[in-house]
């Protein structure tokens, strides 16, 4: 039996056709644009703080921060 496989070109997938005219522009001034970049990179920046922060407060505090973040995420995010 032959199986039909989808082409491995996901970026050619069609839209339902309702999002074609949405604006691409980033709204806001320099501060809000910078805030958006930092906000979107919250995860890796938080990880860098956890890892490098261990130089200041030691590994146990970093571990505690991770546990608190996890518990908070499970409850509210």
């Amino acid at each position: 039996m032959k199986t039909a496989y989808p082409a491995v070109k996901l970026y050619d997938a069609e839209n339902a056709g309702r999002g074609d005219s949405i604006s691409k522009e980033v709204r806001g001034n320099f501060l809000s644009k910078t805030g958006l970049v930092i906000g979107r990179s919250f995860g890796p920046l938080f990880a860098i703080v956890i890892i490098l922060g261990a130089m200041l407060w030691g590994p146990w505090v970093s571990l505690a921060m991770v546990l608190v973040a996890l518990l908070t995420a499970f409850k509210v995010v």
Partner: protein
């Protein structure tokens, strides 16, 4: 004095440069995210090799550092590939095909995936969504419900993926050459931390990748489609769940707008909130499941007992169909 580059003033110059390199103005954010992830790994490796700097004086303190770093790295790697690279697989972020190909290879290796394999898997997911042959999602029980969340995340990556990808890529003559070439490039990149220190690689490379693919991406895949049905004319908006928490969508490239994404895979991730507003009434009328929280709380609820699981489907107050 205003700085000018190529006739453009101040902040317009870098913006113009970005437009020349990136396909969409906000794709720049995807690159920043990925580079920050690689920096986080580099910091963890460096401190592992210099234990005195972080107060590691024995097995227990080393264990605390490894657990903290591996959890944080696993979490961000799951997002970096499961969400961030996912955006690239739908809409290439660079204008250059060469950059797209090579950046992708240097992207997914940091979550233990060859980029080609990940894209193939995601193509299957979109093309066969919730069908009997959609092997990317949890197995379904006889009544159509998903298998238990914990079972899915622990059984799926890498075990079920290996079986399917071997069958559909490695053993297929038309795919084998490209699949093996991409796998070879992946192995060369993924093995780098092992050359530095094999023990370190197990704790700060393999362990984060396991966390990323099982608990982060796996639970994400689960909650996106749990309780959903295959798209039909009668139920066109019941194939995916929508998660509206703003903080989550800000930090997760708007992946919460999942119904909109599946119906419009070529709409850029940054434009999904606006698309959502346009489709809001259609979703309410069609009975789409729209939830006020996000993936982490959803996973917490679905991983619990029957009482906790029953709290999962509570509809967002603004999306109740009162008719």
């Amino acid at each position: 004095m205003s700085a000018t580059v190529g006739g453009l003033e101040g902040s317009e110059a870098p913006a113009a440069n970005r437009r020349r390199i990136f396909a969409h103005p906000q794709d720049f954010h995807c690159v920043i995210f990925h580079i920050a992830c690689l920096v986080a790994y580099a910091c963890a490796f460096w401190l592992y090799k210099h234990p005195a700097l972080v107060g590691i004086h024995g097995l227990w303190s080393r264990g605390a550092f490894v657990l903290a770093a591996a959890s944080a790295l696993g979490w961000i790697s799951g997002i970096d590939v499961g969400v961030n690279f996912h955006n690239h697989s739908h809409l290439r972020i660079f204008r250059s095909a060469f950059l797209n190909r090579w950046f992708a290879r240097f992207w997914t290796f940091s979550a233990a995936w060859p980029s080609f394999f990940w894209e193939y898997t995601h193509t299957i997911h979109h093309a066969r969504l919730l069908g009997d042959d959609d092997w990317t999602l949890p197995k379904q029980n006889a009544d159509g419900t998903f298998e238990q969340l914990q079972r899915y995340v622990l059984a799926h990556w890498p075990w079920r993926y290996v079986v399917h990808l071997r069958r559909e890529l490695i053993l297929r003559r038309s795919m084998r050459g490209k699949a093996l070439r991409e796998f070879g490039i992946f192995v060369a990149l993924w093995s780098i931390p092992f050359w530095i220190d094999p023990i370190m690689a197990i704790w700060l490379w393999v362990l984060p990748h396991w966390i990323a693919n099982t608990w982060v991406t796996g639970s994400g895949m689960y909650v996106q489609h749990v309780g959903c049905v295959k798209k039909t004319a009668e139920r066109p908006v019941s194939h995916s769940n929508v998660f509206l928490l703003k903080f989550f969508n800000l930090t997760m490239f708007n992946i919460g707008y999942h119904l909109e994404h599946h119906d419009n895979p070529k709409v850029h991730w940054s434009e999904l909130p606006e698309l959502h507003e346009r489709l809001k009434q259609e979703m309410i009328d069609g009975g789409a499941r729209v939830l006020p929280y996000a993936y982490y709380h959803a996973s917490y609820l679905l991983a619990g007992d029957a009482g906790r699981r029953s709290r999962f489907g509570k509809q967002h107050a603004d999306y109740l169909n009162t008719q």
